[in-house]
């Protein structure tokens, strides 16, 4: 990407959008950006916390992915259509427990609106779409970097709405690229977690001995990536001509961790805490999805309120563990220039960080 670019970024108050924007502005001193935000105050606090001096090159515009026409002011829309040279769409509702209608409104219809806007941005060279590796849904085995269809179905409405958004992007009659990160775990350098997500929450529930079992086999892979890898990869490849109309997995791929190794490392670390050890929390049992589901359903049906709410929150995420998959990263590795770091190299550091911070993140919590 050359200097003097003008980007339109959604999701700039979020983990990925914010991280990517900061790196682009740092790397390209002549560039500037519009950020479409729905909440001015939230943007102000993000701006102060995350952008510092770079903020002078960012112009917030009020917009909402759920509103027809994005709710953009007429003059703002005109300005964007004349100036924007590239769109990075990282705004999304990342909560796994939304209804399909709610998830679609932000993720699918929001993407439709963003595509419609990008289409009339005369100078825009590419639509950069941040998707998720879990558009693969219930599909198992090797997942390729392409549209793998919808026949397998999905674990939650988030996955489905993101899949449907990809379908819209691929239909666009202008240039696009789709990035599919898997779960963003932490920063690879020190294991610090800047956003608590479903995986961290699930881990905490197991740490507290509240979930008892896990629907997986010891050799099944769990994929996750670091925020620095995802941000670097997007910045590096977003406007690379070779990435035109490509879909790529920003995933650990063959560097993912097996569930067995993941649990070994977690329980070993937890066992170093004398307070935890004293409780005698039993290691979670690896079992089949039917047994896990029967357990979760029984607790939910019998109405023990706290445990039921914990297990229903896990139900939007945990079944993915039983659907073992390996994400192919051939396209991403070639374009980024290197694979994502192996999960085993930062997994323990991440758990240590979470334990040291009482399971809180450095900045804020999201879905």
């Amino acid at each position: 990407m050359s200097d003097n670019n003008v980007l339109l970024v959604t999701g700039a108050t979020g983990l990925v959008g914010g991280g990517v924007l900061r790196r682009i502005l740092e790397a390209e001193p002549g560039s500037r950006a519009y950020v479409m935000v729905r909440d001015e105050l939230r943007w102000r606090s993000t701006e102060q916390r995350a952008f510092g001096n770079l903020a002078s090159r960012i112009t917030p515009v009020h917009g909402d992915l759920t509103v027809r026409g994005l709710g953009l002011d007429y003059n703002v829309r005109r300005r964007l259509t004349r100036e924007v040279t590239g769109v990075i769409h990282a705004g999304a509702d990342t909560c796994f427990s939304r209804s399909l209608a709610e998830a679609r409104l932000v993720n699918t219809e929001g993407t439709r609106e963003m595509l419609a806007l990008a289409r009339v941005c005369g100078r825009s060279r590419r639509f950069v779409h941040v998707s998720t590796a879990y558009v693969a849904g219930r599909r198992c085995g090797l997942i390729e970097e392409r549209d793998n269809g919808s026949s397998a179905g999905w674990v939650n409405a988030y996955e489905r709405s993101k899949y449907e958004a990809e379908v819209l992007v691929r239909k666009a009659d202008f240039d696009w690229v789709i990035f599919r990160p898997s779960t963003i775990a932490c920063d690879s350098r020190d294991g610090s977690v800047s956003q608590i997500n479903g995986m961290h929450r699930a881990l905490r529930i197991y740490h507290r001995g509240l979930a008892a079992m896990m629907p997986a086999k010891p050799g099944d892979l769990l994929d996750m990536v670091t925020s620095d890898y995802v941000n670097d990869a997007i910045v590096r490849v977003a406007f690379d001509p070779r990435a035109s109309r490509q879909t790529m997995h920003l995933c650990a791929g063959s560097n993912a961790i097996t569930i067995g190794d993941l649990l070994d490392a977690a329980y070993e670390l937890w066992g170093t805490d004398p307070v935890w050890k004293k409780k005698g929390v039993e290691r979670a049992i690896l079992t089949d999805l039917d047994t896990y589901t029967l357990f979760a359903r029984s607790v939910i049906e019998t109405g023990d309120p706290r445990l039921a709410s914990i297990l229903s929150s896990l139900s939007h995420f945990i079944p993915q563990l039983a659907l073992s998959k390996q994400f192919d990263t051939t396209v991403a590795d070639a374009l980024v220039g290197h694979p994502a770091p192996a999960v085993a190299t930062y997994w323990k550091a991440m758990i240590t960080h979470l334990m040291a911070n009482n399971w809180r993140c450095v900045t804020r919590a999201a879905a």
């Binding site: 509240l210 047994t291 029967l294 029984s298 109405g303 445990l307």
Partner: protein
């Protein structure tokens, strides 16, 4: 903590089992109408419960005494040949009050009545004059398994030839009739242990206690969640200590908690050839400490158990205790 088959010479065995229920029976629906349940009738019925036995006129002591007398009679044993009597269940002076007056019995703990013990009275009234007599407590539904384990050990280490373990558990009167989604019954069950028996041999026993869960109210979520992994651990350890393979187990004699929880636990333990004796869940409910042995006796009477079969008895003592016992029929 566990004891294994390898460190014993004789093999203590179950020489007989006798049990008694109080006269009154209540259906799940009746209990619900009387506000004795927390969960709905539909939930508890879908979990396999239909009827329970409720003590009113009977005292836990009376039921224990009658169960031991029945055992002595059925097995035609000389009371003086019994070298050990272990009582477990409704504690101390409370055991003498009829169930309907449990609170009066409980008040006795604050007076010198607390020194009136059911175990000593049993020994006297049943003529077990040579029996070393004591009680065990605080192990909830694992009490009778624990008592047999202790009896087994004492038979081996002290050369006691014959022991009787008896539990008489009445669910606390003001606690309703439900313990975490299980419908509870009152019952007494007496088990005869012979130092070296030809059948129903006690091959191994395993108990895990996790004191953290002592506060069952404030740690209820953790108690519910910890039940399954710890139960699996104890069941597999018991089988392993017996020198058995998982595929060799023929029967599980359960504690009569909900069918649903057994479905889940069976999915986790994975004993491919083991059948689960569930006939008594609907007709008797969960008799706290007595279940495993009541089921064992009924399975024997029904001809379901064949000589030499490998049988796992498992129970969970609400809160902190998980116990498994391996028996070779």
């Amino acid at each position: 903590m566990s004891s294994s088959a390898s460190n014993i010479s004789a093999t203590p065995a179950i020489g007989g089992i006798s049990y008694l229920f109080p006269a009154s029976t209540r259906s799940v629906r009746q209990l619900s109408q009387d506000s004795q349940l927390e969960s709905s009738v539909e939930t508890l019925e879908s979990f396999g419960f239909e009827n329970v036995h409720v003590g009113v006129e009977e005292s836990p002591y009376q039921l224990a005494r009658d169960a031991v007398a029945k055992l002595i009679d059925e097995q035609s044993i000389d009371p003086e040949s019994v070298g050990l009597l272990i009582y477990g269940g409704t504690p101390g002076v409370m055991a003498f009050s009829p169930a309907g007056d449990a609170a009066i019995g409980a008040a006795g703990f604050c007076t010198t009545d607390r020194f009136k013990y059911p175990s000593a009275r049993l020994q006297y009234e049943l003529g077990l004059t040579k029996a070393w007599t004591f009680a065990i407590d605080q192990m909830a539904c694992t009490t009778l398994l624990a008592a047999t384990r202790i009896a087994r050990s004492l038979c081996l280490t002290e050369g006691i030839e014959r022991a009787i373990c008896v539990s008489s558990e009445f669910f606390p009167m003001y606690a309703g009739r439900e313990a975490i989604f299980n419908c509870t019954s009152d019952a007494a069950c007496a088990v005869l242990i012979e130092r070296d028996g030809p059948a129903n041999r006690l091959v191994s026993a395993t108990t895990v206690t996790k004191g953290y869960y002592w506060d069952t109210d404030s740690r209820r979520d953790e108690v519910v969640a910890s039940y399954f992994p710890t139960a699996r651990h104890v069941a597999l350890q018991t089988i392993d200590n017996a020198g058995w393979k998982a595929c060799e187990v023929d029967w599980i004699m359960p504690h009569n908690v909900s069918m649903r929880s057994w479905e889940i636990l069976s999915g986790l333990i994975r004993l491919p050839n083991a059948k689960l004796w569930t006939d008594n869940i609907a007709r008797h409910g969960h008799t706290l400490a007595g279940d495993n042995f009541i089921n064992y006796r009924d399975a024997l009477d029904a001809g379901a158990i064949e000589k030499g079969q490998k049988i796992l008895l498992f129970s969970y003592g609400f809160g902190a205790h998980w116990t498994g016992v391996a028996v070779e029929a």
